[in-house]
Symmetry: C2
C-alpha cells in the first residue's frame, strides 16, 4: 500500500468565535433579512465578536515542570500555552459557547494544549496526566454543540486540551475487506479525499463535516446526513484503539462477533470520559457514480411522515431523506426565493395543486448509475402512494449545495442579535407525532414566556425501520444581557419534553455537558451506575473529560 502514512492537509483553522473557514463571505441576502424581520425581531445594532486579544484568559496553572514533562513526550513546539491557542481550545461550537466567546468571556480555557503525534505519545501523555492530577479534554475538530470539549478540570490541579489533529495518518487500507485504518484525528474531508483516489467513500456527512474529526465521530456516536443509506458512524466502525489511564483497549477490525458484551459499543459514545480513541478501522464503500437528489412535496407533515415510514419499512428508503414541517418548509422557500418570477410561479403551482401549506422533503439516492435509478423508481412509487408530488432536482441540488452552510448562517444571526439553536431526538414511528408536538410546544412556550416569541421548525431525518429522528431549529430575538438564561430555559424545556415523551435525549449530538442531567432518565439509575463503574475502572482518578456524559 504505497500511500500508507499519507496525511491529508488540515483545513484552514476555524474562526475562533464561530464556525468555519475564515474566508467565508459574511452577510445575509436581502430576502433572508426580510424573512427574518417578518418572523422575529432583530436586534437594534449589530453585535460583532470582540477582538481575539480581548478574550479573558486566566493565568495557566501549569508550572514549567509539568510543561517540560509534557514537552518531553510530544516535543517542545507541541505543548502550547499561549493566549490564542488556549482560546482556540476554550469551547466547542454550541450556541452558548459562541455567545460567550463572542463576548470575550469563555467559561474557562485549558491550561495548555498538547498535540501528541502517535498512539504511543498519547498513552504517555494520559499516564503523565493521571500521575499529575491534570484533567484531559480530548479535542478533535472542536465541533461539539453540547459542551463536549469545555475545559472543565473537576477537582484537578489543571486541565489540558488534548488536540488529536496530528494523529491524522492513513495507517492501512484493506481494499479486499473494504476497511481503512486511520489516526483518530483525521478530518472527514481528508479521508474522503484520500479514498476518492481509490474510487472509495466513507459516506459520513454530519453537518459539521468540513471540520469534524473521525475520532470525534466515534466518541460521540455520530450520525450523518446520509446515514439512512450509509449507516450511522457506529455501524462503520470495524475496530478501534483507545488509550485509557488504565491501559489501552485494542479491538482489531472484525465484521462481527458474539464474544460477550460489545467493547466497541462501550468505547463508541464514551465522549472522552473513558479514554481517547487513537485509531479507527472503518468500513468504506465504492464511491457513488450517480447522485440523484430531488424535492418532493407532501400535503402535510403527517402524510409525509407516513411516506417516510413506508419507505423505511419496505426497505426502499433513499440514502438521504429529510422531511421539513410546515414552518421549516416556509423558511426554506423564503430563503431560497430570490423574489423573482420563478419563485412566485412555483408557489402558484403548488397552491393550485393543494400543496401550498405543504411540506418539502429532500431525497437523495447514490450508487452505480442503474442501481441509484432503480432505487429511485422504487422509492418514488411509494412516495406517490402517499400523494407525494415530485418537484424536480432544483430543491435537491440547492440542499446539497448548502448542506454544510447552516453554521455560517448562525454566525450571521448572532451578529444580528438573534438566537438560533438546534436540538434533536429520536423515537418509534408510533410516537413521532406526539413527541414532535410536545417538544415544539415546550420550546414555543419557553420562548413566549421569556418575552421573545420565536419560530420553531423541525424536520424528520435518519430513517429506521422502527422510527426516525426529529431535528428542531428555533430562532428568537436574543434577550440582551441574559442570552444564556434565555437559551437554558428553552433547552431545559425541550429536554424535559423529550424524556417525558419517550424520546432519546440525543440521536446524534451526543451528551457532553448539556445533556448530562438527562442521562438518568435515559438509562436509569442502574444503567448510570454501570457506566460509572466502567469509568472508575478505566479512569480511576477521574481525569478524563470531567463533568461530561455521566456528570
Amino acid at each position: 500500500m504505497g500511500w500508507r502514512g499519507s496525511v491529508a492537509e488540515q483545513p484552514p483553522r476555524m474562526r475562533w468565535w464561530g464556525w468555519g473557514d475564515p474566508t467565508h463571505p459574511p452577510g445575509l441576502p436581502t430576502h433572508a433579512l426580510s424573512f427574518l424581520a417578518k418572523t422575529v425581531d432583530v436586534g437594534q445594532r449589530p453585535r460583532p465578536p470582540v477582538a481575539l486579544s480581548r478574550v479573558q484568559v486566566e493565568a495557566s496553572t501549569l508550572g514549567e515542570g509539568k510543561l517540560d514533562a509534557l514537552r518531553a513526550i510530544v516535543g517542545t513546539e507541541l505543548v502550547r500555552a499561549d493566549h490564542d491557542e488556549r482560546v482556540f481550545h476554550a469551547a466547542g461550537k454550541g450556541y452558548p459557547d459562541l455567545v460567550r466567546l463572542r463576548a470575550g468571556e469563555p467559561l474557562g480555557t485549558p491550561d495548555a494544549v498538547v498535540l501528541p503525534g502517535s498512539a504511543e505519545q498519547l498513552s504517555a501523555v494520559i499516564e503523565l496526566c493521571a500521575r499529575s492530577s491534570l484533567a484531559v479534554v480530548p479535542f478533535g475538530g472542536g465541533t461539539s454543540v453540547v459542551g463536549g470539549v469545555e475545559p472543565l478540570r473537576g477537582a484537578h490541579a489543571g486541565v489540558i486540551a488534548l488536540d488529536t489533529s496530528r494523529m491524522a495518518e492513513l495507517l492501512a487500507l484493506d481494499e479486499q475487506s473494504r476497511t481503512v485504518t486511520v489516526g483518530a484525528g483525521m478530518r472527514a474531508p481528508a479521508l474522503e479525499a484520500l479514498l476518492a483516489k481509490r474510487g472509495l467513500t466513507l459516506g459520513h456527512y454530519p453537518q459539521s463535516y468540513e471540520y469534524v474529526s473521525l475520532g470525534g465521530c466515534a466518541a460521540t456516536r455520530s450520525a450523518g446526513q446520509a446515514s439512512t443509506g450509509y449507516g450511522r458512524f457506529e455501524t462503520m466502525i470495524a475496530g478501534l484503539r483507545m488509550a485509557t489511564p488504565s491501559g489501552e483497549i485494542v479491538l482489531p477490525a472484525q465484521p462481527a462477533s458474539a464474544a460477550g458484551p460489545s467493547l466497541r459499543g462501550l468505547a463508541i459514545g464514551s465522549e472522552g470520559t473513558l479514554g481517547v480513541i487513537s485509531e479507527l478501522s472503518l468500513r468504506v464503500r465504492a464511491a457513488p457514480r450517480e447522485q440523484l437528489y430531488e424535492g418532493v412535496f407532501f400535503e402535510s407533515f403527517d402524510t409525509g411522515a407516513q411516506a417516510l415510514r413506508a419507505l423505511a419499512q419496505q426497505r426502499a428508503a433513499p440514502d438521504v431523506a429529510r422531511l421539513s414541517d410546515e414552518a421549516e418548509t416556509r423558511m426554506s422557500l423564503a430563503l431560497a426565493d430570490s423574489g423573482g418570477a420563478k419563485g412566485r410561479l412555483g408557489r402558484l403551482y403548488l397552491r393550485a395543486r393543494g400543496y401550498a401549506e405543504g411540506c418539502l422533503a429532500i431525497f437523495g439516492w447514490e450508487g452505480e448509475q442503474d442501481q441509484a435509478s432503480a432505487r429511485r423508481q422504487r422509492s418514488l412509487q411509494i412516495v406517490r402512494e402517499h400523494r407525494g408530488l415530485t418537484v424536480g432536482s432544483s430543491p435537491g441540488e440547492a440542499w446539497r449545495h448548502g448542506r454544510f452552510a447552516a453554521p455560517y448562517l448562525r454566525d450571521e444571526l448572532l451578529t444580528l442579535g438573534v438566537m438560533v439553536e438546534t436540538l434533536e431526538t429520536a423515537t418509534q414511528w408510533s410516537n413521532l407525532p406526539r413527541l414532535y408536538r410536545a417538544v415544539a410546544d415546550a420550546i414555543e412556550r419557553s420562548l413566549r414566556e421569556g418575552g421573545t416569541p420565536g419560530l420553531v421548525m423541525c424536520h424528520i431525518s435518519h430513517l429506521y425501520e422502527t422510527g426516525a429522528s426529529l431535528y428542531f431549529t428555533f430562532i428568537a430575538k436574543q434577550r440582551e444581557g441574559s442570552e444564556i438564561e434565555q437559551w437554558r430555559a428553552a433547552k431545559e424545556a425541550a429536554s424535559e419534553a423529550i424524556v417525558t415523551h419517550d424520546g432519546t435525549i440525543t440521536h446524534h449530538h451526543a451528551v457532553g455537558r448539556d445533556h448530562a442531567p438527562w442521562m438518568s432518565a435515559e438509562v436509569g439509575d442502574t444503567g448510570l451506575r454501570a457506566l460509572r463503574a466502567l469509568k472508575a475502572e478505566l479512569d480511576p482518578v477521574g481525569i478524563m473529560n470531567p463533568g461530561k456524559l455521566v456528570g
Copy 2:
C-alpha cells in the same frame, strides 16, 4: 391490541440426552451410513444413552428453608428439585454435554429449578439468591453449545437453574413501529406463529430455532441462518429489560441514540453473567410472500468466496448465503444422494462442466414477489461474473427442508460412536483464506495426532461488507474412554488457531465456559478488566452464571 398477553404453546420437551422432539424418528439412511463408513471408522457397537433414572445426581444442597423462600416468590409448584427436572437442566447441547449426559455422568446438576412468571418475580428471586449465596444459571431454551448453562456454583452454597420458560408472554405489538415486546422466555417459533397471524416475521433462524428462547438469543448475541438479510439478533433489539442483583436496567424501544456508550450492547452478549434479560422489544418485518432458494456451484471455495464478497460489497447479497468447501460439498451430495439415476446424472453433468470438485452454495431471497425476484436477478448476475453455475431449486429446497436437522443427525452419530462437533469464527475478507486453512489444519492435525484421523468441513455464511464467518464441522471416530480429552484437544487447537490468525473466538455461538480462556486474546487485558468491573457493579456477590464469559 386484542392479543396482548398471548402465550404460545411451548414445544414438546427436548430429549434430555440429545436434541429435539422425542418423537423424531431415529436412524440414518443407508447411503449416509455408507458415506460414514468410507470416511471415518464407526464404533463396533451402538452406544445408546443410559436410562434417565440412572443419571447421577447429587443430593441437593438447598434446605427446605431456602426452597420455601423461593416457593414464596414463584409458587410451590414452580420450584422443582426432583431428579428428572435437575437432569433436564444439567447441561446445554454441546458435544461434551451430550457425551456426559448419555453416559449418565453430568458435571453437576442445579440444586433446584425455579420458574418465575414475571419480571417482578424474577427480580425477587435474584435478590433472594444474592442474599443467600445461591448461584443463578439462567436457562432459556437450554440450547447452548459452549457450556453456557452448566450449573456451576463458583464459591456459592448452591446453584439454581432459573428457567425463563414461563415468561413467554406477548406484551405489546406496535404495528406502526414494527416492534413487538415479549417475555424473554418466549421461543422463536412461538413468536413467529403469533406474528404470522399479522403478516409479520422476526426472521431469526439459528440452527437451534426449534427450541431457542429469544432471551437466550439476546444474551448470546445470536446470529441466524438468514442474518445476512434479516440482520444479527442484536440488530433486531430495540429495547430490553434486565434484572441484575444491583437492580433493573430498563431500556425502552428506541430506533437509535447517541446518549453515551451502548447499554443495550452491554446487556446483549452478557450471557447471564450480569443479570437475566426479562423482556425484549424486537424489530419485525413484513412476512415474505416469496421465498426463492437455490443451489449454485462454484469452481472452487476461493472463487465462491470472491463471489460472496462481491455480493456483500455490492449490497446485492441474498438473505441466506452459504458456501460449502469441497469437503462439505462432497458430504452434502453424498447425504442427499439416494443412489438413484438422478444423482449420478447430476454428478456426470457437473463433471462435464468442470465443477466436479467444485463447491456448492445455497442462496435464498425472501420478500414481496417482485422484490425477491429482482434481487435474485441482481445477485445471479454477480454470481455469473464469478462463473457460478445455477443448479436449480432442488438443493435450495433440500437445504430449507433440513435446515434445523443437523442436531438430530449428531445424536445418531453419537450412538454410532462418532464424534461430531461444530465451531465458528469470523474475519475480514482479506484474511478469510488464511484463517480457513489455519483452523482446518489445526483440527485435522489434532485428530490425526490423537489417532483418530477425521473429516473437517467448512462453510462460509453470514456475509458482511467487510468479512464473513467460517463455520467448521468435523467428525472422527470417538476415542472410547477419553471422548472429552479427544474433543478438548481438537477444540483447543482450533481456538488457538483462531486467535493467532485474527479470527474472533466466536461469531455466533457465544463464549460460555468453553471459550472463556480466549476472552483475553479477544478483548485484551484492559478490555477484560472493564467487563469485570461492570460485573462487580451489577453482580457484586458474583452469583450470576459463575465461570462463564469472564472467568
